[in-house]
Symmetry: C2
Subunit: 338 residues, 2 copies
């Protein structure tokens, strides 16, 4: 067992896009689990866009990361020492915390992961928070019906790829928006989407071609010009699932800042009876067991796949995270630790 | 029985705010009811903001009024001749049509009105389309809970006054926004609202004072600067019932025109898990009987009142309608015909 716990700390709060100097590599003692706690050796860290919000000192749905504290993330790992009878050494668990190699957590905060069911890293993606986000948002807000058109931005990302496949399973006509030919080919190939739209080319013309019957459900991960292009295409009773607006995470802290770019005129919300609704997956974590069982059944039936973008070593995390905010990842971004 | 049917026709499509020349007084023959039809002598015409949209030749949820056709409205009147066994001469009915004295309608399009239950004109207001709008929007979208803060724009208008009273009955803390001291006094007086905000004075300061706990439900009738002032005040899980945006009916046909003013940045929809949803009452007319029974019970219990703004004579309709679009009405606007 190593002597120290390598960590990446929040060194300062970013001004706009994060830069390398906003992070600091450090070493801390490996934590000692208290009674009821479990020491987890992290094997995979999850990098997700919401973590950008935690770097700002603004009121949000969760407190910001403190300066000098490890950057926030979920981690999958193995139990190294347990003072909770439900967990024993070597067990795989979801629920480690932070950009670091080790964390000690209450057993109540951990979820057992069975590596025979699926590779453990999927507990951070298709079978984890991004997957649950997709599943809850479609069940509660999007509700795609057979034959309806479902459009997804950041469609090859961690959440988008699950949204589209669940939409396809529900019988919807799925159109994914992504950046570049490789991602678009992945959407219509491996994921079985009906069409893909490359936002680096003429968005309006491609949307016209891909959505001849308009848009019934729009899954919003991005905002900005993509939102502006999709919004006028809603059909009557359209639903807009507001999962994120990554395009402005670097420029509009908390998304409520003075100077945040304006949104669409809401007149069509009345005329078309649209529903625009936000979700945060942390409200729905209690639905995880039902979600996981359904997802495993889809995987077993060969209906659902996933793509991970794996970087190796803790030191790679900051650059990978900065790239994530620029849309450079291809699939669910995880950091593998050895 | 008179010889002719006075009408007000759509003479031309307005450019911006309607002016007198957009309307034309005319006379037509009194229609002869066909088999299954009922001839209705209109006693009260309903003037409502949505009629402005019908004057534009744009795609909407209903076709526009044709040039040279009577302006659209619902009317309450008495049966003058019936070829439907369910209706007899002298019966009061809701479902007459158009800015005119007479119309012949299929019996299926009519709803019997019992003048012993409430004054017949209320079938155009508290017991009619505006009331049903309020009831459906609160039941399906707003869902105010005891102690929550419900804010309403155009709060003394036909819909707003019902929304606020139903919200008060549901136990919400009701804050109405209206223009001028008389309307504001009506809200906190006769209607029993907790607070009133005069949009002709400092909106932000008044909202701060009236909503110390933020806004849980916002009923949107207006748009524009009022929307911009309320939107940032939403609490987590806030609901925004999109009933109308009268502030832009004269300037943004169909509300989707290029040049329509932008709306709020939608970032807070994610962060606060807001729900923004539109409604059009015509989707819910089948719920009228349940609605009416509930409303009559509230009225009988002394919990619900209403205020009408009555103008007299068909010729007064255009000016009254133009005033409605400027917020000059005080209560549900109806035209009484003799």
């Amino acid at each position: 067992m190593p002597d120290t716990n390598p960590q990446i700390l929040l060194a300062r709060r970013p001004q706009g896009a994060p830069v390398a100097e906003d992070f600091r590599l450090a070493e801390a003692p490996i934590p000692t689990p208290a009674e009821g706690e479990v020491l987890v050796r992290h094997r995979f860290l999850s990098l997700d866009p919401y973590q950008r919000g935690r770097m700002d000192d603004v009121k949000s749905y969760a407190p910001p990361v403190a300066l000098g504290a490890p950057m926030e993330c979920q981690a999958v790992g193995q139990v190294a020492a347990s003072r909770d009878a439900r967990f024993k050494e070597g067990d795989w668990v979801l629920g480690g915390y932070g950009w670091q190699h080790w964390s000690a957590r209450k057993g109540d905060a951990l979820i057992a992961v069975d590596p025979k069911e699926a590779p453990p890293s999927t507990a951070l993606g298709v079978l984890g928070m991004p997957g649950l986000t997709a599943w809850v948002g479609l069940a509660d807000i999007g509700q795609p019906k057979p034959g309806e058109t479902l459009v997804i931005s950041a469609a090859s990302g961690a959440v988008g790829q699950v949204v589209g496949q669940l939409g396809r399973i529900a019988g919807a006509r799925v159109v994914g928006i992504a950046g570049g030919a490789a991602k678009c080919g992945f959407l219509t190939g491996a994921l079985g989407f009906e069409a893909a739209v490359d936002h680096k080319a003429d968005l309006a013309a491609q949307l016209d071609a891909a959505c001849p019957q308009g848009v019934d459900v729009y899954w919003e991960n991005v905002g900005g010009p993509i939102q502006a292009a999709v919004f006028p295409r809603f059909n009557i009773h359209g639903r807009m699932v507001m999962c994120g607006m990554i395009a402005q995470y670097n420029s509009a802290p908390g998304s409520a800042a003075v100077g945040a770019p304006p949104g669409p005129n809401l007149g069509p919300v009345v005329r078309k009876r649209l529903r625009i609704q936000g979700l945060i997956v942390f409200d729905s974590w209690h639905r995880y067991p039902v979600f996981r069982a359904e997802m495993l059944a889809h995987i077993a039936a060969g209906k659902l796949t996933w793509k991970e973008d794996v970087v190796h070593g803790l030191a790679a995390a900051p650059a990978a995270f900065m790239g994530l905010l620029r849309g450079e990842n291809f699939g669910k971004l995880v950091v593998a630790l050895d």
